[in-house]
Symmetry: C2
């Protein structure tokens, strides 16, 4: 079984595991899953497994599916908190089914993560920790906006927890399931972590630079809510759109957000973010040196480059 | 270690496991935990363990704590959906910290369940299934209200999933950890399930009959939202307070809910619910016959009686 066939199996596992006789849970879960997505996390798990010498991609597909479902669950809950109406090019779950069912769908997807992981005894503490850190990161983000302390340091702490931890866990799973030695496990964990950091920085930049159609989700939410990459580049102080607007001298009263966006874009913030993301990817790729040469190792490097070079 | 000392340990485990450097998660989790609660679920786990011959209560305290935390997480999310402002005699998490942080606190508590359960390999599929069913039950409930099909049959399906499944799992854990044989495991699972069903029926009756102060949470929410025990006793048809109000001929325009409540109370609905709960408890206690006589077995029977005879 090749990587693409295995990715198909991951899709199948996700669609099967959400089966239930409760129509709204099935339909809402199906809606968010069938909208697709980049699927970078399960791909990372499968490729680290192969690169570390794993031979049975079909056996680890449920774990890769679980990693994607943690992300999917968090996305559904995010869209409630952010009032996001567009996700993966479709209306968000809360936009269609409302807040209560979106909350329950996110909970449901998370219980399905647990169900998929249950047979993998040695992996459960790792997944539990990643899930804890993801929720901590989301909370730190909401708290930083509320408390007006969205500094650069806080930003990196947030993205380390809410994004990089799950990437690290996904890579860790692949390495562990392939029975890799500690040197390789640690190198692949670090690879996953750095790729996750780069992924989130680029995500936040795309939130500023891309439009809804290209992005497939409501763009500008981070800027609007005074967080993300924009927040740490608006005169070093931000408390949502209002504070950002105050910091800009000539604000277009008709569309202040457009002006603020233009200001950030004209500065060196975007270029600096991209530079930082590229550095992280270079560090990640250096981690792969401990692995023997293989097609999977090359594909891991490709995945890392894709993360920083993507336009959506 | 006796049962009361073990229950103290369960409290300690819960307070320890929610420790985090993210202030709002720590404070909100601490708030809901330190408000107490009946703790009937962890008590059930500890007592089934003892009654099935278990000897190391301290070793299973984390599992009992996890059972209570599943319930706690669902309560925090429930209060978001129901706009409940009072819980366990205190303002609810959403009333103090708002919806976003309440959602994240519920998510956080659920990740902590996962963390506590992770070392217990053989129990994880059981807990995952109970968590899935809990979310399904909550969803069926919200859907039944929305779709106006809150029949008696639907009601029993809802409470079986949202409440009895977790009671069943809690008893199952105790029996499994005590290495009981299949006869005893199955008897204790059924004991837990029936006690859970009785518990929820009484809970729904108390929602109608008790005031906020006695109940420690916002009362009448079920009636107000057209669900719970009230919904299936209002002329067999209900779609929230409006439909209920229409079914009542002389509604007091100043306080229609009071009149509706009075009508339900004056009928035989409450008596019938109590009768059904007592039957379930009788069936539960009959399950205990397979166990050798012991203090723990007596305490399990006491717990079952407490469930139906409580006033809050």
């Amino acid at each position: 079984m090749g990587i693409n066939e295995a990715m198909q199996l991951v899709e199948k596992v996700m669609h099967q595991v959400i089966e239930t006789d409760v129509p709204v849970l099935r339909e809402a879960s199906e809606h968010i899953l069938s909208a697709g997505g980049k699927r970078v996390r399960p791909r990372l798990t499968l490729l680290t497994y192969l690169a570390a010498g794993g031979q049975s991609l079909d056996a680890i597909a449920p774990v890769a599916a679980a990693v994607e479902l943690v992300h999917t669950a968090s996305v559904v809950h995010d869209d409630i908190n952010d009032h996001g109406v567009l996700r993966r090019g479709r209306p968000s779950v809360n936009a269609i089914w409302g807040r209560t069912f979106a909350l329950l769908t996110g909970d449901y997807l998370f219980t399905k993560v647990y169900e998929l992981m249950a047979p993998h005894n040695e992996l459960n503490p790792i997944m539990a920790e990643a899930a804890v850190r993801l929720v901590e990161g989301e909370t730190l983000q909401a708290a930083a906006v509320k408390n007006n302390n969205y500094t650069r340091q806080v930003y990196y702490d947030i993205i380390a927890r809410k994004t990089a931890s799950l990437f690290e866990a996904g890579a860790h799973f692949g390495a562990r399931l392939a029975h890799a030695d500690d040197t390789i496990i640690n190198a692949l964990k670090l690879f996953g972590f750095n790729v996750g950091m780069a992924f989130q920085i680029i995500d936040d930049i795309l939130d500023l630079t891309a439009d809804d159609l290209t992005l497939g989700k409501t763009s500008g939410i981070d800027l609007d809510q005074g967080r993300g990459y924009a927040a740490i580049h608006t005169n070093g102080n931000s408390n949502g759109a209002v504070a950002v607007a105050e910091a800009v001298t000539e604000v277009d009263q008709d569309d202040p957000m457009k002006k603020i966006k233009a200001k950030i874009m004209n500065g060196d913030a975007i270029a600096e973010g991209r530079r930082r993301a590229h550095e992280l990817v270079d560090m990640a790729i250096a981690c792969l040196d401990v692995l023997p040469q293989s097609a999977a190792r090359d594909e891991l490097a490709d995945l890392a480059y894709m993360v920083v070079n993507r336009s959506y």
